[in-house]
Structures are given as structure tokens and as C-alpha cells.
């Protein structure tokens, strides 16, 4: 499928989602769907650096919070509307992502990951001490009273997040099918060999880091209006980082589709469990699923599907798929 057709298809899906949200009478479903789409954006953004390039970013909360608090601060200062706040957050977080990308000059592997953890805590410290946005007391956000087209503000937010999700998925897919994406894959497999073969390693990493950061920031910008009250502890919740790592890993990291699958499955599951059981249990299940998948199905659900569809399964690299294949054969 060409990029043009894919973009058209993605837009059609987006339009369908938005139209559907207008007919839903129970606003909670739109609320929950926003949550799922938010993670589609975060997981896809994470995967651009973590899956495509192989640099594991555990600092999702830093970018999300920069997007979130820049939106809150600008809204308080200039009363700017969300459609303006989103690209501004994207630019800010793109710049931070670029700076993070420069870390890769000196830091590889686990050192990069540790540095992203450090970035997350440093950002949290600054925000905790930033009185303009309430510091550790938090800040309340007033939603505008007039929503011209949409019946409710939540539906409006859902529309915005749908646009972001479509954009993120399209960006990931375009990257994947481009020479840029092939360069990223080369870096992931062997950075030194890629550099020796003429791949402009640093430039590619910087662009990937900037895109990844920008998308995360844009996902964070509508969040204060969704939550209406934000404070540092919950804004930097470990759940954001765990989810943005778990979803690509569960779904599969080598394709744009993996993070989407992971986000929809895990996101929906979490919303269901939050309502039916408790919020803590749903987080526990995410952690358990992450560990199980990373051990038993290293290539995620996509990897499982491909393995089952193919003729040969290597038990060493994908024991769960091999097991399923064995059962499949014995049942025939």
C-alpha cells in the first residue's frame, strides 16, 4: 500500500472515530477512548526511538510533562487555545528531544537509558519548584464554555487526539518505508557497522529523537484540559513510562502497527479494569504482561502472528510461538 493510500485510509478511520463519538450518549466512552488514543501517540512516539533506532527512552514523563506544563503555563499567561498550544508543545519537546539525541554521541545502551531517567527527574524537580504553574500544589485548568462544533468539550478533545493519533501513525509508517527508516534500522542492528557503511548515524538519531520527543509533547498538551487539575506527582507517574514501553513491546517494535495494537489492547484493558476492578490492579497486570511478553514473545503480537503464518519457528527466539505452532500441528 502506498503512502498516499495509507494516509487516506488513516484519515477515514479518524473521521469514523470522530463521527462515532458524536453519537455516543455516555460521555465516559469518549473519555476512555481519548485515553487509548493518547497511548497510541505515546507508544508510537516511543517506538520511533526505541523500536526503530534501538535507544531505550525511559523518560517519557519528561516530554509528556513539558508538553503538559507548557500548555498550562501558556494558557494561564496568554489564554491560547489548544490547537495553538499543541504545536508549541511539539516544538519545545522536539528541541528537548534533539538535545537528548546529542547524548547519544557519548552514551549508548543502558547509559542512554539511565540518562533519560535522570532527565525525567530533573524536569520533575524544576516543575515542582515552578510556582507559576502551582509547583507541588498543582494548577487548575478552566475549560472554555463555548464549544462551537462539538456537543461537549470531551468530544472536542477526542477529536484533537484522533488527529494526533492519525498523524503519529502516518509519520511512523512513512519513516518505516523511507530510506531514513532503513538507516534507522541499520543503526539499531549495528551502529558501528552502519557508520562504517556511510549511514549518517548522528543526524538520523537526532531527527528520530526530535520527532519522538515532539510527538510525546503534543500528546501532553491537551492533557491539562482533559484532567482539569495537574500536579507533579501524577504528571510524572511511572504508569506513563511503563505503558509507553510496554505497548510497543507487547504489540511489536518493528512496525508502525505494533504500538497501535499494543496501545489499543492494553489501553482498553486498563480502562476496563479500572472501572471493573481497581486502578492498582490494572497497573499490576500491565507490569506482568510486560514481563511475560518480553520473555516469551520477544517480537510481540506481530511477531507471533508472523511466526504462526510462516513455516518455520525458532524455539530459541520465540518459545511461545513455537509452543503454539506445536499445538497447532498436533491438533491437525
Amino acid at each position: 500500500m502506498s503512502n498516499g493510500r495509507f494516509i487516506l485510509l488513516a484519515c477515514l478511520v479518524g473521521v469514523a472515530l470522530v463521527v462515532a463519538s458524536l453519537f455516543v450518549t455516555n460521555e465516559y466512552y469518549v473519555f476512555a477512548a481519548y485515553f487509548v488514543l493518547q497511548y497510541v501517540v505515546l507508544a508510537t512516539a516511543w517506538n520511533i526511538l526505541g523500536g526503530y533506532v534501538g535507544y531505550v527512552n525511559f523518560g517519557t514523563t519528561a516530554f509528556l510533562a513539558i508538553g503538559l506544563y507548557s500548555a498550562a503555563a501558556l494558557n494561564k499567561w496568554l489564554d491560547l487555545p489548544i490547537p495553538v498550544l499543541i504545536p508549541i508543545a511539539g516544538v519545545l519537546c522536539g528541541a528537548v528531544g534533539l538535545a537528548m539525541g546529542y547524548l547519544t554521541i557519548r552514551l549508548r545502551g543502558v547509559y542512554f537509558t539511565i540518562a533519560t531517567l535522570a532527565l525525567s527527574v530533573v524536569v520533575q524537580t524544576f516543575i515542582t519548584n515552578w510556582d507559576y504553574v502551582g509547583g507541588s500544589r498543582g494548577i487548575y485548568i478552566m475549560r472554555p464554555t463555548d464549544v462551537p462544533v462539538f456537543g461537549s468539550y470531551v468530544a472536542y478533545l477526542f477529536f484533537l487526539m484522533t488527529v494526533l493519533a492519525v498523524a503519529a501513525v502516518v509519520i511512523a509508517r512513512v519513516i518505516e518505508r523511507s530510506t531514513f527508516g532503513f538507516g534507522l534500522a541499520a543503526i539499531r542492528d549495528d551502529e558501528t557497522a552502519a557508520a562504517a557503511s556511510g549511514v549518517p548515524v548522528l543526524r538520523l538519531k537526532l531527527v528520530a529523537a526530535a520527532i519522538s520527543g515532539a510527538l510525546m509533547g503534543m500528546a501532553g498538551a491537551p492533557l491539562p484540559f482533559y484532567l482539569t487539575y495537574v500536579e507533579p506527582t501524577s504528571s510524572f507517574s511511572l504508569a506513563y513510562t511503563v505503558n509507553s514501553v510496554a505497548m510497543p513491546l507487547v504489540g511489536g517494535t518493528t512496525s508502525w502497527l505494533g504500538p497501535v495494537i499494543g496501545a489499543v489492547l492494553l489501553g482498553t484493558m486498563q480502562q476496563a479494569m479500572t472501572v471493573l476492578i481497581s486502578s492498582s490492579v490494572n497497573l499490576l497486570v500491565v507490569g506482568v504482561l510486560l514481563v511475560i511478553f518480553v520473555i516469551a514473545a520477544p517480537n510481540g503480537i506481530l511477531g507471533l502472528i508472523r511466526s504462526l503464518g510462516g513455516k518455520k519457528v525458532d524455539p530459541e527466539t520465540n518459545p511461545l510461538a513455537a509452543m503454539l505452532m506445536t499445538e497447532k500441528r498436533s491438533s491437525q
Binding site: F58, V110, A118, L119, V121, T128, N129, V288, L290, V291
Partner: protein, 292 residues
């Protein structure tokens, strides 16, 4: 001016005492990450597990928390060997990507944290002991006993480990496996078994550190995340795999944080460790005493 100097001296001494505690927290990562190359970011969650075990046995049976910490090292050692067995089977044997090993421990961290939350809730828990409360005063310096005892115990722990690594065959084998595991095989030691022992030791230190943590301050399940970067910062700053380096780096971080908290406010001190970490990572990845 005299008052200012007294305050500075007091904060430095406090920093040193906290640094000793940080060293006890970081030594497990120094072993796992520095010597074995295993990025165990779940270590702080295991430390909190140690804290809550100390809390339960102290509140239910009145046991001394340090005693609990010492006794808990045995089951924690075996927990560590189990974790390493799973890790080795799933990741090291296949030579899989870094991302999955990290995600494995990240998932463990999350499971432990949420599990503790489900059991104990999000309230702060603390222990009671005779030495929590009193403090000695020497001029402008105060020495809270609840900080002094963990400091001394941490020093003993690190000295004990250093002697083990320097003087015993198993300890030397652990140091050797960090350098070249194939050469170690030629010397007649099994790398996997050596690594399992080392990882067990690493996890055992979490029990002690957990007991120290709850003596120093009340704990709640999500505190572990605050210590992840701090611990790795100390480990990297001190030089990968160097126990003396870990201790000195821990004291440096402790003093820096203490001075920051005293003169600028405690809410700024978390940035100090991470500032150090970023600077250390970029400027001198091998750390102060690194062997690289």
C-alpha cells in the same frame, strides 16, 4: 558568620551519614550492573520490599529492623539467584537486545511497586526502635542516632563485601567474570554459576538497604523510582564495579544534596544527583575510579 559555618558543617556531616546509606543502596547495582553488566533497575523496588518486610516484622513482633535486614539477606539471596536464572535463560543465553532485559527489570520494578501498593496502600509506614529519636550533639553538629547506625552498618557491609571480593576465590571469580568470562572458564569456574552467586549477593544487599531506609524515614511503595537514578548516578560516578568508588561517590552525592537542601530547599536536591549523573556520563563515563 559563625552561625553560617556551623550550619554548613552540620549539613556536611548529615550528608556524609546519608552518603553511607546511599552506598548501601548502590552497592547492589555496583555488583549487578558494574560487575555483571546486568541493568537491574528493579533494585530500588527490592529495597522497598526489604523496607516493608522490616516494617511488618517490627510492627507485628517488635523485631529490631536491622536484625530483620540481616536475616532477610538469606531469602533475598535466593530470590536473586532465581531472578538471575530467569534472566540468564531468557536473555543472556540468546544474546538478545538490551531493550528486553531493561523491560524485564522495568516490569519487575512496576510489579513490585504496585504489589506493595495493593497490600499496604499508599500511606507512609515507619518502624520503632530505641535508637530512632535520640541524637548526640557536638558543637553545631548533631548526630541523629537513626542516621549514625545505618551509616556504620553500611560501612561494615561494604568492608565485608570488599574483603570477600578481594580475598576469596568466589569473589575474585566474580571480578574476573566481569572482565572476560571465557578466560574464567579456562580457569575452571563456571561463569553462569558465578554470576548467579553475584546476583544473589546483589539482591541480598537490598534487604539491608531496605531496613536502613525505613529507619531513616517513613516509606511508601512508589519511593523506589526516586532512587533509581540516584543509585545509578552513584554507581557510574564511582566507577563501574568499584566498591570503594561507590562509597566515595555516595558520600559526594549525599553531601551535595544535603548542602542543597539546607541552603536552597529540599525540593531542589533531587536534581543534584541527576545533574552529577549527566555530567559524569558525558564527561567521564568510566567514573572517578573506573577501570576502563
Amino acid at each position: 558568620m559563625g552561625q553560617y559555618a556551623g550550619l554548613l558543617l552540620d549539613s556536611i556531616v548529615s550528608g556524609v551519614l546519608v552518603g553511607g546509606f546511599y552506598a548501601a543502596m548502590a552497592v547492589g547495582i555496583s555488583i549487578a550492573f558494574g560487575m555483571l553488566g546486568i541493568s537491574n533497575i528493579a533494585h530500588p523496588a527490592l529495597i522497598l520490599l526489604g523496607s516493608f518486610i522490616a516494617y511488618v516484622l517490627n510492627s507485628q513482633f517488635g523485631w529490631d529492623p536491622i536484625l530483620v535486614g540481616v536475616l532477610a539477606t538469606v531469602p533475598f539471596y535466593f530470590l536473586g539467584t532465581l531472578l538471575y536464572t530467569a534472566y540468564e535463560f531468557a536473555f543472556e543465553r540468546r544474546g538478545t537486545q538490551l531493550i528486553r532485559g531493561l523491560a524485564f527489570f522495568f516490569g519487575l520494578l512496576f510489579i513490585t511497586e504496585v504489589g506493595l501498593q495493593l497490600i499496604f496502600g499508599v500511606d507512609y509506614r515507619l518502624v520503632e526502635a530505641a535508637y530512632i529519636g535520640p541524637s548526640y550533639n557536638i558543637g553545631p553538629v548533631s548526630l541523629p542516632v537513626r542516621m549514625l547506625i545505618p551509616f556504620l552498618a553500611s560501612v561494615l557491609l561494604l568492608i565485608g563485601l570488599q574483603i570477600f571480593f578481594a580475598r576469596t576465590f568466589t569473589g575474585r571469580a566474580i571480578m574476573a567474570v566481569a572482565q572476560d568470562k571465557f578466560a574464567l572458564q579456562l580457569m575452571g569456574a563456571a561463569p553462569v554459576r558465578i554470576k548467579r552467586i553475584a546476583f544473589g549477593l546483589s539482591t541480598a544487599t537490598a534487604a539491608m538497604a531496605g531496613a536502613f531506609l525505613i529507619i531513616l524515614q517513613p516509606v511508601e511503595p512508589s519511593m523506589g523510582r526516586d532512587y533509581i537514578g540516584r543509585i545509578f548516578a552513584i554507581c557510574v560516578l564511582g566507577g563501574i564495579g568499584s566498591l570503594p568508588g561507590t562509597f566515595i561517590a555516595a558520600v559526594i552525592v549525599g553531601v551535595a544534596e544535603s548542602i542543597t537542601a539546607t541552603f536552597y530547599g529540599p525540593s531542589w536536591s533531587p536534581a543534584i544527583a541527576f545533574g552529577f549523573l549527566l555530567i559524569a556520563l558525558v564527561v567521564r563515563p568510566a567514573g572517578l575510579f573506573g577501570r576502563a
